[in-house]
Symmetry: C2
Subunit: 267 residues, 2 copies
C-alpha cells in the first residue's frame, strides 16, 4: 500500500524542500517507486529536480482547480523510480480562487487516491504556511514529517504546527499521524543544538500513550548536518546523490532514508 507523507513546517527556510527532494531520491535509488509532489507556489522542489515551473503545461494547480483533471497527465519522470507532480508559480492564487469550493481541501487527496498503488512513496513538499496547499497535503497524507533546525526560535513554531495537525485530525483526516522530526542543517558540536534536541526528545516522550497525533513521534537520527553541497545542487537541477555523492549531505540523507525504510518495512 502506498505511503503518503507530508513534509510540513510553516516556518520558512527550515529544510522542507531539501529533505523532500533528497529523501525521495534516496528511496528511488533504493529501488522504491517514489512520487515527489511539489505543493509550494515557490516551486523549489520542481526547480531542484530540473523542472521549470513556468514551463510546465500541467501541475498540482490543475488538480486543485479541476476535480475532473487526470493527475497522471501532470506527472513527469525525473529518473529511475522517481517522478514528480510539479508546482506552478500561479498557484499562489489557488487559495482565493477556491475559497468557496466545499471540497477544496480534499481534491489533492482524491487525485492521489486515483493513482492506487502506482507509487510506493508519495512525498509532499509543503509551503511555509498553514493555508490551502499545506492543509491539502495534510488531508492527503497518512503521516507527517517535520523538518526543522535545532534553534531556540525554531521551537517557538512547533506548538502552532501541532495545533494545525490536531485541527486536521479532528476533522478531515482522523488517522493522520506525526511520525517525527527531521533535524536539518544541524551543527552537531554545539551545546545549544543538543539542548534543543533534548527538549524535543522529552516533549515526544511525554506524549506517549496520550490521545494526540504525535504520540508515536520522535526525533529521527541521524540529523542532517549542514553541508554547502546541499545548497549548491538545486542550482544544477540535481539531487545530492548526482551532484556530490560522497558529501556528508548525501551520507546523511541516505542514512536517514535507510532508517525510515527500515521503520516502514517493519510495520
Amino acid at each position: 500500500p502506498t505511503r503518503l507523507i507530508a513534509l510540513m513546517n510553516q516556518k520558512g527556510g527550515v529544510g522542507k524542500t531539501t529533505t523532500t527532494v533528497n529523501l525521495s531520491a534516496a528511496f528511488a535509488r533504493a529501488g522504491r517507486r517514489t512520487l515527489l509532489v511539489d505543493l509550494d507556489p515557490q516551486a523549489h522542489a520542481s526547480l531542484h529536480v530540473g523542472v521549470d515551473p513556468d514551463g510546465v503545461e500541467s501541475s498540482v494547480y490543475d488538480v486543485m482547480l479541476d476535480p475532473a483533471f487526470d493527475v497522471r497527465s501532470a506527472i513527469r519522470v525525473v529518473s529511475d523510480n522517481l517522478s514528480i507532480l510539479p508546482a506552478q508559480t500561479d498557484m499562489a492564487a489557488a487559495e482565493s480562487e477556491l475559497s468557496s469550493e466545499q471540497d477544496r481541501f480534499i481534491r489533492l487527496r482524491r487525485a492521489l487516491e486515483s493513482l492506487g498503488d502506482t507509487y510506493e512513496f508519495v512525498m509532499m513538499d509543503c509551503p511555509p504556511s498553514l493555508g490551502l496547499l499545506t492543509i491539502s497535503g495534510l488531508a492527503a497524507a497518512r503521516e507527517v514529517l517535520i523538518p526543522m533546525q535545532a534553534h531556540f526560535l525554531a521551537l517557538q513554531g512547533v506548538g502552532k504546527l501541532l495545533e494545525t495537525v490536531t485541527l486536521v485530525t479532528g476533522g478531515i483526516n482522523p488517522r493522520l499521524l506525526v511520525s517525527g522530526v527531521i533535524l536539518c542543517a544541524h551543527d552537531p558540536g554545539t551545546m545549544h543544538a543538543r539542548e534543543v534536541v533534548s527538549d524535543l526528545d522529552q516533549f515526544f516522550d511525554s506524549a506517549r500513550g496520550k490521545q494526540v497525533p504525535w504520540r508515536h513521534a520522535r526525533v529521527y537520527r541521524p540529523a542532517i548536518r549542514r553541508n554547502i553541497k546541499l545548497a549548491e545542487c538545486p542550482s544544477y537541477g540535481r539531487t545530492i546523490f548526482d551532484y556530490a555523492p560522497e558529501a556528508s549531505g548525501a551520507v546523511d540523507y541516505a542514512a536517514l532514508a535507510g532508517v525510515l525504510l527500515a521503520d516502514w518495512d517493519a510495520m
Copy 2:
C-alpha cells in the same frame, strides 16, 4: 531627522529578526537612540530582547486596530538608547480584521510620524510574508534593507520582493528606496556563496541610473558569518553584545552597523 528602515524578506528564516535586533543594539551602543518595531505575529524580535508577547498590554496590534491609539504607551525601554514597540501573537488576525479599512496600510506610518524626532533610528522587523504587516512597514519606511542568505534558492525570491517594493513606490510610498542586501549566516569560504554574491553585485550594478527603487542598492560588507552564538542568545532574551561580545556574530554586526552609520552620517 529620523531614519525609518524596514528589514524585509518574504522568505522565512533568512535572518531578518537576528539582523534587526543586533543592528538596533549596535546603534544603541554607539549612542544613537533606536526604536525596534516588531511587525511579526511570531514576535521573535520581542522574545529576542526579553519581552513576552503574550504578556504585553499594548503593542503594534493596538496601532493597527485603533488610529487614535497613542503609540508611546506601547513602547518599552530595553536598555540604554534602545526601545521596542513589541508585537502581540494575536495580531495574525489583523489582516482579516482590517480588510475593509481604507487607511489600514498607513496606520503604522502615522503612529511613527507622531513620534517626531524622538528616535534617530526606527528599525522595523517584518514577517515572512507580503501581507498587511509587511506592507505597513514598507509604507512607513524611507529605506529597505534585505537580509538574505547567499544560496541559489534564496535568489529565487528576490524578484518577487523587488516587485512588491515597486508596487509600494508606485502607490503609497513613492520615495521608498532599497538601500541594499545584508548577507546573513554566511559561509565565506564556499564557491557557491561567492557566485551568488557576484550575481547580486552584478544585478545591482546594472540597476544604476535606472528608474527603479533599488538603483542605489548594493550588497553590504561585511557579510554576517554563521555563528551559533547568534542562534543561542534569543533563548536568553539578550542581544549578541550582552551574550557573547567577543563572538564573530558581535564583531560582524558591529562592523556592519559602523558601515551603515558612516553611510548615513555622510548623507
